[in-house]
Symmetry: C2
Subunit: 100 residues, 2 copies
């Protein structure tokens, strides 16, 4: 399953309990910037494998993540801040492409 | 100090770590509906004194809460769901009146 997870804008403590629960339980976190998202997960005491997922590797990575979803993996999609494709700083097409 | 705290709309797990931290540390929670807010705090394992604060007791309660703030008490202001006076279901003037 793909989880689209909102992350804090500014204050790392603005993450929700539900976001933490999802991040704890997925197999992998697909992140716009793994370094920035690594800091967030470190801040909340969660260790997870990351894959980078951004405009420069989108095509190849979408195929890879789609395949993982088809195998039953749980993936959290996050961006640097905000909600991917909804209230993110930059508009991206990740979830739509992953669904297709 | 007065803390205006956003509470979840729908899913109780959508509360943030920062909201939990504030609710844990205030002296009293001023809530629109103490029964509903009691369920939220119970859900997250926090026990706090409540005062009801709604349209029918607003004038008297504002005086009482302003006095407590002046004495140095920390008060969290919450509504049933959302952010008081910003993105709440009903528009209220609590924070403005408490500041005045």
């Amino acid at each position: 399953m793909l989880y689209v997870v909102a992350t804090p804008i500014g204050n790392l403590a603005d993450i929700t309990l539900r976001a933490l629960e999802v991040l704890k339980n997925v197999d992998v976190v697909a992140a716009e910037d793994t370094r920035r998202s690594g800091l967030l997960l470190k801040h909340v005491g969660i260790q997870k494998p990351f894959v980078s997922y951004h405009e420069h590797n989108e095509a190849a990575r979408t195929a890879e993540l789609t395949e993982r979803l088809a195998r039953g993996d749980n993936i959290a999609l996050i961006t640097d801040a905000g909600t991917p494709s909804i209230a993110n700083c930059r508009s991206r097409s990740f979830p739509g492409r992953l669904r297709s």
